[in-house]
C-alpha cells in the first residue's frame, strides 16, 4: 500500500520534472519536451491502473494551480484551453500503455514497451487530443489531424526513449517495474 502510493506519487512528480527540466535537443535538431515521455513511462513502468492514477494525480495538482505542465502552464485555465483534449487523453494513454505492457509480459521488455508506448502514448492520446481541438477551435477532424503531423516524429522518438528507459530500469531495478509482475 505505502509502496504503491509512493511510487504513484513519484511518477506524478516525474511527469512534472520531465516537463520542467531543460528539454533535450536531438542531433537532428528536433526539440522534445519530455512530458509526453513521462506519461508513457507511467504506463510502461507502473502498469495500467497505477500509471493512470499517477497521471490523474499529476493533472489534479495542475488543476489546483501548480504550474507543472510543460512551459510552466497550470491552473484551471488549461482545462478551458485548446489542448484540453490531450489532458483528458493523458490518463487514458497511460492506462492503455500500461495494459498493453502487462499483456505482453511474455515478450522482451523493450519491444513490448515500445509497442505499448506508440499505441497508448501516441495513437490513443491523439484521439481525444484531436477531438478536443475540433471542439475548442472549431476545426474539422481532418484539419486537426493534419495539424498534429509535425509532432509525430518527436513523439516516436519519445516512445523509443521511454521503452529504452523501461528496459534499462527493468535490468537495474526489476522489482520496481510493477507492470512486469
Amino acid at each position: 500500500m505505502e509502496r504503491q502510493i509512493t511510487l504513484i506519487a513519484l511518477f506524478a512528480a516525474l511527469i512534472a520534472v520531465l516537463g520542467l527540466v531543460p528539454k533535450f535537443t536531438l542531433a537532428s535538431g528536433i526539440p522534445i519536451t519530455a512530458q509526453g515521455m513521462g506519461i508513457m513511462l507511467c504506463g510502461t513502468v507502473l502498469g495500467a491502473r497505477r500509471g493512470a492514477l499517477a497521471v490523474l494525480l499529476f493533472l489534479g495538482l495542475v488543476a489546483l494551480g501548480l504550474p507543472l505542465l510543460a512551459g510552466g502552464r497550470g491552473g484551471l485555465g488549461v482545462f478551458a484551453g485548446p489542448t484540453v483534449g490531450f489532458l483528458i487523453g493523458f490518463p487514458i494513454a497511460a492506462f492503455v500503455t500500461g495494459r498493453i505492457t502487462e499483456r505482453m509480459s511474455g515478450a522482451p521488455v523493450f519491444p513490448a514497451a515500445l509497442l505499448a508506448a506508440v499505441l497508448g502514448g501516441i495513437v490513443v492520446l491523439y484521439i481525444p487530443g484531436i477531438l478536443g481541438m475540433t471542439a475548442m477551435l472549431d476545426m474539422t477532424v481532418q484539419q486537426a489531424t493534419i495539424s498534429m503531423a509535425p509532432f509525430i516524429p518527436g513523439d516516436l522518438i519519445k516512445a523509443g526513449l521511454a521503452a529504452a528507459l523501461t528496459a534499462s530500469l527493468y535490468k537495474a531495478r526489476p522489482a520496481s517495474v510493477l507492470s512486469r509482475r
Binding site: T25, G60, G75, M136, L165, L169, R173
Partner: protein
C-alpha cells in the same frame, strides 16, 4: 512554494473556494451560449472588469498568464478569415480568451490548501461509501515534496555530466535520474511502513 496564486490581495481571496469553482462552472457554460461576437465581446469585457476590480497591476498579471493561448487565438482568427467565416472565428477566439481568463482568475485568487479542502469535500460521498480517501491527501503532499527533490537530483546529475564530458547533455541522463528517484521512493515507502504506515494515527 511554487504556485500561480497572485500576491496581490483581491476581494476574491475572501470568497469560499467551492463557491468560486461553482461560479466558474456556471460562467463557462454560459459563455458557450453567447451567440454573436458582440455578446461574446461583452462577456470578455465583463471578465476583464472582474480583473480590474483589484486594479491595473492585477489585470496585467492576468494578461501575462494568458501568454500560452495567443498562438491559438491567432491561428483560429487567420483560419476563419481564410475560410471567410470571420464572425465565427471572432466568437471562438473571444470565448477562448474569456474562458481561460475566468479559470485563471479562480486559480490566481484561491490558495492551494483551500482547493485541496474542496477536493477532499467532493470526495465525501466516497468516504461515506467506506473508501479511505486519506491516501489521496497524502499522495498530494508527497508529489509536492518529490518535485523539488527530483529537480535537485536531476540538476546535480546534469552538472556531473557537464563536469566530465565535452558533449552536450543527452537523453542518457534520464536513466540515472529515474533510478535515483525510484530508490528514493522505495526508501520513503520503507520509512512509512516502519512508522506504522498510512493507517497510523495522524496527529500525535
Amino acid at each position: 512554494m511554487l504556485t500561480l496564486t497572485s500576491d496581490i490581495r483581491t476581494p476574491y481571496h475572501g470568497l469560499r473556494a467551492g463557491v468560486k469553482l461553482a461560479a466558474l462552472c456556471g460562467a463557462t457554460v454560459g459563455l458557450f451560449w453567447l451567440p454573436n461576437p458582440v455578446a461574446m465581446a461583452g462577456g470578455l469585457a465583463a471578465v476583464a472588469g472582474l480583473y480590474l476590480v483589484p486594479g491595473w497591476q492585477f489585470l496585467r498579471e492576468g494578461v501575462r498568464l494568458l501568454k500560452p493561448i495567443w498562438f491559438f487565438v491567432v491561428l483560429v482568427l487567420l483560419w476563419h478569415v481564410f475560410m471567410q467565416q470571420a464572425m465565427t472565428g471572432a466568437v471562438i477566439a473571444l470565448r477562448l480568451v474569456a474562458a481561460v481568463a475566468l479559470a485563471n482568475l479562480v486559480t490566481m485568487t484561491t490558495r492551494f490548501d483551500d482547493l485541496i479542502d474542496v477536493v477532499m469535500w467532493l470526495l465525501t460521498p466516497l468516504r461515506r461509501a467506506g473508501l479511505n480517501t486519506a491516501p489521496l491527501g497524502f499522495a498530494i503532499v508527497l508529489v509536492v515534496r518529490f518535485i523539488p527533490v527530483l529537480m535537485d537530483k536531476a540538476n546535480k546529475l546534469i552538472d556531473a555530466w557537464r563536469a566530465r564530458s565535452a558533449r552536450r547533455v543527452g537523453w542518457q541522463v534520464a536513466l540515472p535520474i529515474t533510478l535515483c528517484a525510484i530508490d528514493d521512493a522505495e526508501h520513503v515507502a520503507e520509512a512509512l511502513r516502519a512508522r506504522g504506515g498510512l493507517n497510523a494515527p495522524q496527529d500525535p
